[in-house]
Amino acid sequence: MANSKTVIIKIKRQQTPESKPYSEEFELTYRPGMNITSALMDIAASPVTRQGKVTTPVAYDSNCLEEVCGSCAMLINGQAKMACSALIDNLKQPITLEPFSKFPIIRDLQVDRSVLFENLKKVKGWVPVDGTYDLGPGPRQSAEEQEQAYPLSRCISCCCCMEACPQFNEKTGFVGAAAISQVRLFNTHPTGKALKVDRLQALMGDGGIQECGYAQNCVEVCPKDIPLTRSIADVGGQVMWQAIKDFFRT
């Protein structure tokens, strides 16, 4: 045991939304293929710090364990990443884990990311098909449209793009790249584009697309490789045309 390889992880912890944060260090036995979520599971199985103090298991979000649910996003060595796909082998030790810094903390590594859900509601990020009778099949999408839309539909609402954005903060209340990209997705959808004008006008409100400073961290951190800067440029043009139409034609 003494000769086996270990992994050292420093975790920023916080018991309640209002209490003071503190740091704890853990030393785990290395196993091949370990990731941050599996390390947190190891800590939960035996919550003892590196100094030998018995502590509480670290609270964290996780679900799918394969980078599709979006729940396990956190700051890993200071950067927004998914814990499930962050392999220990690729990380510089000691590894630091912190909760997202721009979202209210629930406990330890768990944060409240409901601002994205609120933003998706504001921009009407859906296809309007609810009704009292069967509307029948929708129009067909061409292969080209499908190829454009599919990467955008891969968004997992992890909020990494918002955490890494210098413009996403309490002063600006910026909507963030994820919701803007969903506007692009639903504006290209043959049925979804019925709400196009509503979405573009929503993005002109305070905290809208104009707050983007094009630092491009969003597209760098996105675990799903969504072309977010392209979406911002595309939707930025759509919003601009809508603003010109609203100004001169109403």
């Binding site: 409901s114 210098p166 600006t172 305070d206 697309i209 951190v221 392209r230 440029a233």
Partner: protein, 242 residues
């Protein structure tokens, strides 16, 4: 579903902190941000290019430079032109730009990537260029020999005397580099934000165009400085002090 009255309520809906959601349909920040972006291109950027080209007449000697100043100062409604197309737009662009800077939280330490560095550089070059412009405008427009209304024949002399101090020349170099960088990257940002360069490839190619623009402007600026520094004192009309 009614919530049970337990002693510990951890319902996330109660957490009223963090970044506010989008305020759809509220405020004027869209208009102001887009005006800020546009004002950097027209009229400020257009004036910057005109100013670089006009000043480069310095390399053609004292007479050519003073003639160019005579042409510009004798434009009709010159005071209206300078306030409406130069002073007011620059003041708006600078003050609103400082407000934009204050609202952003630069994070190049955590995310040291090119786009993020350029984001930060746009703020620093902006403030350096503004400090330089305030000095330059105070010095050249609001104090000393007034170049309007016949003072144009001392235009070259006014700059030439200033450039006798190497510190002034150095400050001009810093101002030229900052303004050229800020304008050229601003053109790139304008194209990206207004949806002109949508694809990653288009943005990359336009990046080379804007980098070329920056190099060209810095080149013209430095060349113009040599027009003053290489002119011997006996060719420069002496400014008469009353």
């Amino acid at each position: 579903m009614a919530s049970s009255a337990s002693s510990i309520d951890t319902s996330p809906a109660r957490i009223q902190k963090g970044v506010a959601p989008l305020r759809a349909g509220q405020g004027y920040s869209f208009l102001l941000r887009r005006l800020h972006s546009l004002s950097g291109i027209v009229p400020i950027g257009a004036f910057l290019v005109e100013h670089f080209i006009s000043n480069s007449e310095a390399v053609n000697g004292v007479q050519a430079y003073n003639d160019q100043v005579k042409f510009l100062t004798s434009l009709p409604f010159v005071h209206v032109l300078e306030w409406v197309f130069i002073f007011i737009p620059i003041l708006f662009h600078a003050l609103y730009g400082i407000y934009i800077w204050y609202r952003g939280e630069s994070n190049v330490g955590e995310y040291p990537w090119t786009g993020n560095w350029l984001y930060t550089s746009q703020r620093w070059t902006g403030i350096i260029a503004f400090i330089y412009i305030v000095y330059h405008t105070y010095n050249m427009r609001f104090t000393g020999v007034h170049l309007m209304g016949g003072g144009y024949q001392y235009a070259f002399s006014k700059v030439w005397f200033d450039f006798q101090s190497p510190w002034t020349v150095a400050f001009y170099v810093v101002g030229i580099v900052a303004a050229s960088w800020h304008f050229s990257y601003g053109v790139w940002l304008f194209a990206a934000k207004w949806g002109l360069t949508v694809g990653a490839n288009a943005r990359r190619k336009f990046g080379f165009v804007c980098a070329g623009l920056a190099v060209l402007l810095v080149g013209i600026g430095l060349w113009t400085i040599t027009g003053f520094t290489r002119t011997p004192a006996d060719q420069v009309p002496w400014v008469e002090h009353d």
